[in-house]
Symmetry: C2
Subunit: 270 residues, 2 copies
Amino acid sequence: MTTREELQKLSPADVRSAIRHGVYQYDTAGLAGGYIQGNLAIMPAEYATDFLRFCQRNPKPCPLVGVSDTGDPYLPTLGNDIDIRTDVPKYKIFRNGEFQDLVTDIKDVWQDDFVTFVLGCSFSFEEALLEDGIEVRHITKGTTVPMFRTNLQATPAGPFSGEYVVSMRPMKVKDAIRAIEITSRFPEAHGTPVHLGDPLQIGIRDVTTPDFGDPIEIKADEIPVFWACGVTPQVAISNAKPSICITHAPGHMLITDIPSANVGRGPDKF
Amino acid sequence: MTTREELQKLSPADVRSAIRHGVYQYDTAGLAGGYIQGNLAIMPAEYATDFLRFCQRNPKPCPLVGVSDTGDPYLPTLGNDIDIRTDVPKYKIFRNGEFQDLVTDIKDVWQDDFVTFVLGCSFSFEEALLEDGIEVRHITKGTTVPMFRTNLQATPAGPFSGEYVVSMRPMKVKDAIRAIEITSRFPEAHGTPVHLGDPLQIGIRDVTTPDFGDPIEIKADEIPVFWACGVTPQVAISNAKPSICITHAPGHMLITDIPSANVGRGPDKF
């Protein structure tokens, strides 16, 4: 049960088990289809209130889908028996804002004051775009979505601040309109775009040269459509320079037990 | 500029100014129409992270629309020059979970470690129901919406826990369906109902005798429709017994500068 094809058919719990036991340590795109995957940020409790404020003030780049209790490595609001120390394929460890290590579990660095934050990611809405027949070109091409720094400043909270980073998907105008309609149903996955059309209006000088990810062709009858991106909180965290912070490695997400179709505001049981 | 009729026509800032200067100290229903009004909870920073978790885990009863910086009495993400010490008509002060005092400002009790939380309220969606031609009977009758304790347990966070309190509006089935459609657009104002029909299914034994507010008639061709209610966080706070906590007095809300039509996930600037 280690190939991508096999893992696509498994439940979130089974994929997490494969990851936990070290038999799968690669990216999670397309795995356990139909369930919300999440960006990860783990930091000491002293930063938690300000990071929660940052997410509340900037919900498009930072759609909070789950928060752990202090020191508790489990996330009962996101799934059964999720152990955040082992259930993500690859983690990045930062100390004082500097990248230090890429690891496959964080059992050795876990601290009793850690708080885990899980933020929604674009996988959920891309799945819905594809189901609607809209091409998502970086998926067609098998590349990473192009991402750009912008001049849109996030609303700061304590030490957390910085500009929005956006992901770009080229589309025909008709598809862009439909994509806005569809993504309005996914507030927990970055929601509607923050911009479309002229890249310069949000401070992007060269739309052919992304700051992160791979370049992608924009055809003559297409416009670029820009969504707030989960790299935004990573920029804010690197500006805040917490003593220690752990994130997922790009593309290596936490797979939750929450169906992607479970739109709305998240974890309400009722 | 002190009568309700005059205040209905004023901007949020002008109504807040009238409240701040003591010329209006009554309930805010219908004032500054078209702008989000909010429930208020102020508590020391030591409780803030857990209360943020409680809101994140229970967004229907606790739709967080704004959080202040620690010790800062202003709320720049909700409006210009909102001073939370003076801009709400009536406040309730609780110590160790016990009600202590009803006051018209909190300048004397303000602490440097206070954090202000503003939660969405049902005024926004009731406005939208009325505009759609749906009767909201307690508004027709000029009474307070009936509210009931339930057996639905909120997801706890630290010391915050308790059952959902719900508000009830009787409707024809056709109107109930339309009301669900409309309130799905207002996640920041309790969103869709948590129940409709048989009250006993959520632990309500006698739907004619509310725990809070006034009774209301349910006609033969109507069903009761139940929404999560802002009394829920007040129950959770009284269970948590913070050393000090300040809330608005029922119906005496904070009026923000955010248009009710500004649906979605709140304070994003972009």
